[in-house]
């Protein structure tokens, strides 16, 4: 990486830290929601800079888009606009959190650098995928061959999780829909919906 890239990374991380401190110190709930949207956008830019474009896209859509709206909806429902006064800083939890963070940073020190071609992650199965995947799976795209063939069970599990989440959402929304319609029994409601469909 050239110096400009490193500078941009460090600057973005510093901005994220500044926004996080502003979130913690702010009393106004709406400001906290807006700042957390900014935090997500900063994270998305960082992910793009690490060329993890799909992760960045998810962060921008979910972190900055949907969850901001969910927070606003919660604020509108609870009518809480101002947080109460901060309690004084408690020393013992602060020390424990700082020590844990320092240990985690210390633990990353012997990890390989970002993009290191000699890193174990790049030496283990990646060369085989690059050399053998067209022959072994018959797929021209390497990513597709990994997702659909080598890690087929993993992908199946992910799809099951997403399907379960979607089914759960449908169940919850369907129930609240019936309850909100007073005076109409269930059979009539169903018939109405069928006619509309």
């Amino acid at each position: 990486m050239n110096p400009a890239d490193i500078f941009i990374d460090i600057f973005l991380l510093l901005l994220m830290a500044a926004v996080a401190i502003a979130i913690v110190r702010s009393h106004l709930m709406f400001a906290v929601v807006m700042l957390s949207g900014i935090f997500s956008l900063l994270a998305a830019v960082l992910y793009v800079h690490l060329t993890a474009v799909d992760v960045a896209f998810t962060e921008a859509a979910v972190g900055a888009g949907v969850s901001t709206l969910l927070f606003l909806a919660t604020l509108a429902l609870t009518h809480v606009n101002v947080e109460e006064k901060h309690k004084p800083v408690r020393v013992v939890p602060l020390v424990i959190v700082t020590a844990t963070g320092a240990m985690l940073i210390w633990g990353t020190l012997d990890m390989p650098h970002y993009g290191d071609p000699e890193a174990p992650a790049n030496k283990h199965v990646a060369p085989r995928y690059i050399q053998e995947s067209p022959k072994e799976t018959g797929l021209p795209n390497m990513v597709t061959s990994v997702l659909a063939s080598y890690r087929g069970y993993d992908t199946l599990g992910e799809v099951v999780v997403i399907f379960t989440a979607g089914a759960g959402v449908l169940v919850i929304l369907g129930r609240s829909r019936r309850r909100r319609r007073p005076g109409v029994n269930d059979e009539d409601g169903d018939n109405l919906e069928e006619e509309r469909a």
Binding site: A4, F30, M34, V48, H49, V53, L69, R177, R180
Partner: protein, 95 residues
Amino acid sequence: MFIAAAAAILVTMVMAIIRATKGPTFYDRVVAVNMFGTKSLLLIAVLGFLIERPEFLDIALVYALINFVGVIAVMKFFRYSHLGTPHAGDDLGDL
């Protein structure tokens, strides 16, 4: 030149964060977040040329769309306290 552009965008980001932190009205904060979204997509576009992957420009365009829809949703929420879809009690609602 791209480095200078990136630096200028980062400075603007700092100013947007200051405005979003200080407020004072919530329109200041909404505009600050909107502007921050614009700055982040500009930064992505400039970064694409800096690290020689100009196809990042397309990603920046998609970010512009998300940013636009997101701000409209926030403003709509403030105007109506919900997203403006018809209520469950309406005849045509309950979508």
